[in-house]
């Protein structure tokens, strides 16, 4: 599969570029923000922590930029993302605590939006001019409103006014009747679910429109193909004809995943800030406020790698679904 090898090469390159960018961003910033942070941290951190950070960035030692860079790459590759200056714990520990929340909420909501949107798009395209199809332009509203503005609106309506759902946080720490213990127990799980409804709906509502419109348009384009007409002429059952069209229409949609996944993910991460929902989005927001560069870098790296991984999955799915792509290039 030469195509996949090519793509794999691209992903390695992209990952490397992200890694390098991550190294240079703090260094490019005016007044060497990193030095400034180190200076301000000096009073508060223990000498060991400071030494650890210095080792991570190679700042205190008189290393050249290149040497600093190699130290950084070596550390990152060995899984050492440095030490969070604001939390006083290794960055990997912070990520370990926050990633499950983000993956649970943003990840699943994005996947649900993609699947549901694609399905609705298939129906809208097939029943062109039908009820669902006429509703499609309305979805432009959700499509164009920034995620966090939509989140705010939902929060106001269903959280503040109607009191249907909690207005923030990932779970209740305590209430009058129950003390929540984190883990697989019903009170905790139900609290988590309750808190996730609004942020998850925000992500689904905001991102689903794009998938619906994209899939609908591809479906309509595909239905004009002769092989769909042939399937119909052969007398194949209606669902088979729709399936043949959908099977072909989904290919460009999958390759569009690579276009929009980073938009969807970054937009969704902001939703965490609106709902004060635990996760890497809220964490990077806090980290920016407290200029915690190691944590910022760690999160940027992880999010970028996650987006690249999603792209890789989309590529594999495309190759699996389109026999033509396996031969080309």
């Amino acid at each position: 599969m030469p195509l996949l090898i090519r793509r794999a090469g691209f992903y390695l390159l992209a990952a490397y570029a992200a890694l390098t960018l991550n190294f240079f961003i703090p260094r490019m910033l005016p007044g060497n923000a990193l030095d400034a942070v180190l200076t301000t941290m000096r009073g508060e951190t223990t000498p060991q922590e400071l030494a650890g950070m210095a080792a991570q960035y190679g700042i205190d030692s008189k290393q050249s930029l290149m040497a600093q860079y190699f130290t950084y790459v070596a550390h990152t590759l060995s899984g050492n993302l440095g030490f969070s200056t604001s939390k006083q714990v290794p960055v990997t520990t912070v990520l370990g605590g926050e990633l499950p929340w983000t993956i649970g909420l943003i990840g699943s909501a994005t996947v649900v939006a993609f699947l549901l949107g694609t399905l609705i798009g298939i129906v809208a395209g097939w029943k062109r001019g039908g009820l669902i199809d006429t509703v499609v332009p309305v979805s432009a509203f959700f499509q164009a409103v920034p995620y966090f503005v939509l989140g705010l609106l939902l929060l106001i309506i269903f959280g503040v006014d109607l009191h249907w759902f909690p207005i923030g946080g990932g779970y209740d720490a305590t209430s009058r009747t129950v003390t929540y213990i984190q883990g697989w127990n019903w009170p905790y799980v139900s609290s988590v679910l309750q808190h996730s409804v609004l942020p998850a709906s925000t992500v689904v509502l905001a991102s689903i429109a794009g998938w619906i419109v994209g899939m609908r348009n591809m479906m309509i384009t595909t239905m004009d193909e002769d092989y769909v007409l042939v399937a119909c002429a052969k007398g194949l059952p209606r669902w088979r004809t729709v399936a043949i069209a959908a099977r072909n229409a989904i290919l460009p949609t999958i390759s569009n995943v690579t276009l929009s996944i980073s938009l969807v993910v970054t937009g969704a991460i902001l939703v965490e800030v609106v709902f004060n929902y635990p996760g890497v989005g809220l964490e990077i927001f806090n980290a920016v406020q407290s200029t915690d560069y190691p944590l910022i870098q760690g999160i940027l790296l992880v999010v970028t790698l996650a987006v690249l991984a999603a792209n890789l999955i989309a590529d594999f799915a495309y190759a699996a679904l389109d026999p033509r792509s396996r031969r080309e290039a």
Binding site: D224, D226, V230, P323
Partner: protein
Amino acid sequence: MSTATAIDADAAPWSPAQPVLEVRGLNVDYGAGRDAVRAVNEVTFTLRRGEVLGLAGESGSGKSTLAYAITRLLRAPGVITGGEVVFHQPSASGGPARTVDLLAADARELAGIRWVDLSMVFQSAMHALNPVARIEGQLTDVLKRHRPDMAPAERRARAIELLGMVGITPDRLSSYPHELSGGMRQRVMIAMALALEPSLVIMDEPTTALDVVTQREILDELMRLRERLGFAVIFITHDLSLLLELADTIAIMYAGQLVESAAAADLLAAPRHPYSLGLLNSFPALHGERVKMTGIPGSPPSLRAMPTGCKFHPRCPHAFERCSAEQPALLTPAGSRGKRTVACWLQTGDRVPPEPLGRPEGDRSQDLAVGGH
């Protein structure tokens, strides 16, 4: 003329064979209401068992629209606005044929006729084959649908047999369309069209996208298969020279109307409509004397701005006053031997047609060596 009761197997004037398809006064519009334009206008013809009808005309003459409308496969915004299409479906037990008005049929009835007895070969096999499905699946799905009692192994055997009929080896069953050459793809489409042994196959420019050598091979194969299986064919093309070899009857379309139809040899030897003559003059004859290739000046009219009277009169070198005022009907021309019809004011007997349009039909000296039947 638009009721189903008008259907009857009228006494065939020139052939004892039973009709398989009768089209009467068919009108097809694109769009509806005020925006509608007429693409096929009052087309009438009868096709008999095993007959090969060639339908020729320039691009945009409505020949493909006609073919798709007959099968009710015409896409939006195509609308059938009048006429009738009667299909005589042979019964499986060998009894008398069942007549079905395709324009009155619902989706279920059509599913029982299309591909079973009336199948179609599309212009571009590249587009007519599902690019993401293997050949085997595309050949067997139709068997699975219409021959539910066939076992998977039988279906596969039939698929192999079908490929063999068009000269493709069984190892191609597991290929995807993009792995086949253009000629092979079209052969697969032909095999697919013949899967259920239909009595009529409509072919919409099936060889236009192929090179001349492949085209030739496929046409030869097609004719062999037709001889063997005895299906009737409507062969649509803009290339009149192809029809002279394979068609029994040729119908010429212009601007959505039939302007002339005749036995293939008669049409070649003695065209009666100036447009037929123009088409004949736009390709070189392989045999016979050198003729100056003149073609037809001008271009076909837009559907939105049809000329009055005879639709061809603005391009016709022989047009006179009446041509722009009145539309000629499709009639047997004066002095013809009956099988031919033409819609031209030159041929009504009131006038003496100019020389090339008045050749005697008996004169078959020109190209008979290649004439099909």
